[in-house]
């Protein structure tokens, strides 16, 4: 079982308590925005092989959303941080 450190609870918690909530750092385009900008906001995702910034929710725990950097190759969680914080630099 993957252990995910929740930045609110402060220690690693079992994966089963969490829900994946899509890519992090998506910004709604500022109005007036083109259809292309909205299409990109709604549908275009990075889907990288390597480090991905994702939102997670500790749904069966503190209930909070947070961001995590996960290596999609090794499935390791490299860093977690609260919404609004700057994405940390990590080596893969």
């Amino acid at each position: 079982m993957l252990l995910i450190p929740c930045p609110y609870c402060g220690f690693p918690r079992p994966e089963i308590e969490f829900r994946h909530a899509g890519e992090a750092h998506l910004m709604r385009p500022e109005e007036p925005a083109s259809d292309e900008a909205y299409a990109a906001f709604l549908y275009e995702r990075e889907n990288p092989k390597g480090i991905a910034a994702e939102r997670w929710r500790h749904v069966h725990g503190c209930g909070r959303y947070f961001n995590a950097l996960r290596d999609t190759v090794s499935d390791r969680i490299l860093a977690v941080y609260k919404p609004g914080e700057v994405r940390p630099e990590v080596a893969s």
């Binding site: 220690f11 918690r13 308590e17 069966h60 503190c62």
Partner: protein, 182 residues
């Protein structure tokens, strides 16, 4: 008929509890619950104004007078009490507080093998070094979400949505069949 609809049905009605030697599970006498959201600093100010001690840290519970104050999330607070919750506490909880007494059921877990029985369904490490006395956290038991509060080395209090109670008791019954006998 109106009386029947107004009187809440006991959450434990028609449910049976399996017997596991060394791990007893029974209805908790806590009947009153109020859930509310508040920033820690705001709550601390309100509680100090009422002449109370500071609120507990995150994932901790504290007995305060006749009620227990649990903090399952950074801004989330749950008051649990056997007696009616006093107006003083309602004032502290504020206008956004939710009365959830009838939606939840309290379970008392105790006995020397209670950790073993709980660990069969709970993914958290329940060793006292990781889950000390006084800790309270929402987590899972089987597939049911619940709030677990360790009151003593071998005594836990569990808060569950009453609709999950039958699933929790069924899972407990399943554990009874798989745990080693001694």
């Amino acid at each position: 008929m109106a009386d029947l609809m107004l009187t809440p049905r006991n959450a434990w009605a028609d449910l049976t509890v399996a017997e596991i030697p060394g791990a007893t599970l029974k209805p908790s006498p806590t009947r009153h619950r109020v859930l509310f959201q508040a920033r820690e600093r705001e709550l601390e100010t309100r509680m100090k104004a009422a002449g109370m001690a500071a609120p507990p840290a995150i994932l901790r519970a504290r007995m305060m007078d006749d009620v227990a104050l649990l903090r399952p999330g950074p801004d989330e607070w749950l008051i649990v009490s056997e007696a009616e919750i006093s107006p003083k506490w309602h004032e502290i909880a504020g206008p956004g507080a939710i009365e959830i007494s009838h939606g939840y059921a309290g379970i008392e877990w105790c006995g020397p093998r209670v950790m073993l029985a709980l660990s069969a369904g709970c993914p958290l490490d329940l060793h006292e070094s990781a889950f000390p006395v006084g800790m309270a956290s929402r987590t899972l038991y089987g597939k049911s979400e619940m709030l677990l509060w360790r009151q003593d080395h071998a005594r836990f209090h569990m808060e569950v949505a009453r609709s999950y109670l039958s699933a929790i008791l069924a899972f407990f019954g399943e554990t009874a069949r798989h745990l080693p006998q001694s």
